[in-house]
Symmetry: C2
Subunit: 416 residues, 2 copies
C-alpha cells in the first residue's frame, strides 16, 4: 500500500484496489489538514502509555488488535451489509482495507479532496496522531448464511467453528446489541481515535453498510506499584490468567479448516451488564469469596500474590470455594479450555430502571468457540457464584479474518 | 480535612463531619488496598497529559472543574435525592465532601474497613492515582422547589438565575436525560477515574440519593503542531472563543444575590445529538459555510489563523455567512453575552433508528443563564445553520455550589 507520508495527500498506490465514492478524488487539496507524520514512531513502544505517536503495524499473518497489549480505549461496532451483490461487498472490504491501513498510520481514512465533495474522513482525529490504533475486522454468521449468504453466494464458506452460540441460562439478550454481518474492533490510546475509526469506516462504507450496534470501552492506567492487570467495575483485577504467546497457536489462531481462515481467529463478544448496586452492597468478604481473589492485590484466596496459582481442588479454607468465579472458569475445571480475553469496561449511562448501565465488554479470541467459550460459559451460567450479579444483554460470535498482506485486502481470504 | 496519607488508612480528622454508614468503620484494615501517595505531584502540572499523578486542589473559593483546563475524560451524572428530611440531605452532602476530597487526592472514597462490611469504595480506581480528578457539584431547580423544596424547607433559597430553562425550538428532550436534584461533573485524565468518582458517590450516598442519568465524555489529545482546541465529532475545532481569566468575574462567577451563591456559578448541560450521517454527506464547503471556519485549521472563513477574529458584519465573501454558527453564536450578535464552555464529545452507542448516537455534551458555566445561555440559545434555535444537524435530547440547569473551605462541606453555603 502507500508508504508513510507527511501530509496525507498521496493516493494509494495499489492499482487493483477498487476506489469507491470520493476515495480517489483529489481536486483542490483543500480542507483535510495534514496529520502529523509518524516518522520515528517505534511499533509497540509505550503500549500502555498515552503516547499518541505509537504505531502498530497493520500488515501481517494475523490482524493486529488480538494478541498485542490492549490499549486504554476501544470502540467495538457491528455492521450489517446493505450491498446488494458480491461486487458491492468486495468494494466495501477493499475500501475498508485502504481506510484502516491509513488510519493506523495516523492519516485520514481517505486522501485529501476538494471542498465541493463530501469529505472522505469525518475529521475528528485530525492532529491526534496514530495513537496505537488497531482495527480488527471479522464476519458474523449472518453474512455467510440465510438471505445474505445466498445474496453473496457465500453459504459454502461458513467455517464450522462459526456456529451460532447456544442460548445460555441467565442471558437477557437484546437484539440491537447482538450479532451483525461484520464486526470492527478499534483499539487506541485515545478514545477519540478509537471512535473515529468506527465513524470513518461507516462513512467509507456509506450505502454498502450500516451500523448495527456500537459500544465504547475503557481501561484504567495503573501506576506505581499497581500491577498492569486492569480492574473491572466491580473493583477486581480481571484477566490475570491469560494464555502465553507459546499457547497462541493452540488457543487463539484458527485451525486448518477452512483453509481461508488460516491466520484468523474467532471472537466472542458479550455485553455483560453488572448489577453494581447489588454488588456494592455485599460485604468485601462475600465479594472476595464470589471471585476467589483478594480485591486489593488480586492474589487468590488460597494465598500468594496475583501471579500465584490458586488451589482449585478440595474443600474448606484450603481451596478456592467451589462456586467462586476463578474456580468455575479455570482451565482445570474446563478440560484445559482457555480463552484470550481482551475485555474492556463500559459505561452506557443508566438503565430504564435507574441504575448505572455499566459492566464488562467481554471480548474473547479463540481457535474454536465450540470447544472453548461455549463449554466454559455453560458451566459459568449454572455454577458461577458471580452469575447473580452479571447478565449478558448483548452477544455475538465472529470469524476474525486472517491478516492482510501488503497490497492485499480484507476481502482476499473470504472472497478469493 | 485529613492531610495526605500514603495508604488511605487515616480517618478524616474533622470531628463535626457526619460519618455515614460504613464510612467510619476501621476494623481489620483488610482489603481496600493502598493508593499511591501523591507526594511530589504539582497541582496543574501536565494538565493535558495522561499524567496520573496530577492533583487539582479540592479546596478554594470556587470549586475545581470550572475554569481549570478540561482533561480528556468526564463522567457527568445527575442524582435525585431520596433522603426524607433536611438532616438526610446534610448528611449526604457532608459524606460527599469527604469522599470527593479524598478521591481528588487518589485515595479511596472512604477509609479502609473490615471485610465483614460492604466496602465504602467500589474499588475500580485502586492503583490509578489522582489522575487530575475534579468533582464539581451543583443543585437543580427541583431540589429547591415543589415537593423537594417543601420537604427540605429550601423553597426560599432558590436563586433567581436558577430559573427553569424555557422550551427552545427544535429541542426533543428526553426526561431521563434531563434535570435532576443534584449534578456531579467528574473530570479526569483517566476515563476509569472519572467513572469511578460518580460510582463512588452513588455508593457513598446509598439510601439518600439515586442516579437519575449519567453520561461519559471524551476529548482527543492533540499533538505536534495541532492547536490544543479540541475537535467535536463533526471534525471541527470547538471552543476556540472562550473567555479569558480576566473576564471570569463578569462571565462565570455568580453575582452577590443570593449571598449563599458567592463563589458559585450556573451550569447549563445539554446533551446535543449530532445527525452525523446527514453531516458527513455534506460537502466540505457546505460544512465550512455552516460553521464559519475552515475545518483543518479552525481559522475563520474570513481568513487568518484559528485565533484570528472573524469578520461578522457585512455580506458576501467579505464576512462570515449570516447563518454560520460562529456568527450567530458570537458575543457581537448577542449583546456581548459569553459562556465558559467546557464541552465533551460523547458516544452512546446507536439510536433506535440505527445511527450512531453521538454528539456533544455541552457544559457551559456562567453568571446568569437568563442573560447568557437563554438569549444565545434562542437565537441559535431559529437562526443557526447548524441546527439542521444537531438536536438537544437532554437538558438541565444547575446552581454550582461555591468552593469548599478546608474543614467545610458542600452543605455549608446552601444549608448554613
Amino acid at each position: 500500500m502507500d508508504g508513510p507520508t507527511d501530509d496525507g495527500t498521496t493516493a494509494p498506490q495499489v492499482s487493483r484496489r477498487a476506489v469507491l465514492g470520493g476515495l480517489g478524488a483529489a481536486g483542490g487539496l483543500v480542507g483535510l489538514g495534514a496529520l502529523p507524520g509518524v516518522a520515528g514512531a517505534a511499533p509497540g513502544a509505550g503500549s500502555r502509555s498515552n503516547g499518541t505517536a505509537r504505531v502498530v503495524p497493520f500488515h501481517g499473518r494475523h490482524q493486529a488488535g488480538i494478541t498485542d497489549p490492549a490499549p486504554r480505549h476501544a470502540t467495538v461496532a457491528a455492521f450489517d451489509v446493505t450491498a446488494t451483490d458480491l461486487a458491492g461487498l468486495r468494494s466495501l472490504l477493499d475500501a475498508w482495507t485502504i481506510a484502516a491501513e491509513r488510519m493506523t498510520r495516523g492519516l485520514p481514512a481517505g486522501p485529501v479532496l476538494d471542498v465541493t465533495r463530501a469529505p472522505n474522513d469525518p475529521g475528528e482525529a485530525m492532529g491526534l496522531g496514530p495513537s496505537g490504533l488497531t482495527i480488527t475486522v471479522g464476519v458474523g454468521p449472518s453474512l455467510l448464511s440465510g438471505a445474505s449468504g445466498a445474496r453473496f453466494g457465500l453459504s459454502t464458506r461458513r467455517p464450522a467453528p462459526l456456529a451460532d452460540l447456544p442460548a445460555f441460562e441467565g442471558d437477557a439478550l437484546v437484539d440491537r446489541w447482538s450479532d451483525g454481518d461484520l464486526i470492527v474492533q478499534a483499539c487506541s490510546d485515545d478514545a477519540q481515535v478509537a471512535f473515529h475509526a468506527v465513524h470513518a469506516l461507516a462513512v467509507t462504507g456509506a450505502g454498502l453498510v450500516r451500523v448495527r450496534w456500537s459500544i465504547d470501552g475503557f481501561l484504567g492506567t495503573p501506576r506505581g506499584t499497581e500491577s498492569p492487570t486492569p480492574r473491572n467495575l466491580m473493583g477486581f483485577k480481571d484477566g490475570t490468567v491469560n494464555p502465553e504467546p507459546a499457547q497462541f497457536d493452540r488457543v487463539v489462531w484458527a485451525g486448518d479448516e477452512p483453509r481461508w481462515m488460516r491466520g484468523g481467529s474467532y471472537l466472542v463478544v458479550r455485553r455483560i451488564r453488572m448489577d453494581l448496586a447489588a454488588w456494592d452492597a455485599e460485604t468485601l468478604d462475600d465479594q472476595q469469596e464470589t471471585i476467589g481473589r483478594i480485591r486489593s492485590t488480586g492474589a487468590p484466596l488460597t494465598g500468594g500474590t496475583e501471579s500465584s496459582a490458586p488451589i482449585l481442588r478440595g474443600r474448606g479454607s484450603q481451596a478456592i470455594p467451589a462456586g467462586a468465579h476463578i474456580r468455575v472458569a479455570s482451565p482445570a475445571a474446563n478440560g484445559g479450555a482457555r480463552l484470550l480475553r481482551r475485555g474492556y469496561n463500559y459505561s452506557a449511562g443508566t438503565t430504564e430502571a435507574g441504575d448505572l448501565d455499566a459492566g464488562l465488554l467481554f471480548l474473547a479470541y479463540q481457535r474454536d468457540p465450540r470447544e472453548q467459550f461455549v463449554p466454559i460459559q455453560r458451566r459459568l451460567a449454572t455454577a458461577d457464584a458471580l452469575r447473580t450479579y452479571v447478565t449478558a444483554v448483548g452477544s455475538g460470535v465472529y470469524a476474525v479474518l486472517p491478516g492482510v498482506r501488503p497490497g492485499g485486502s480484507y476481502a482476499d481470504p473470504l472472497l478469493g
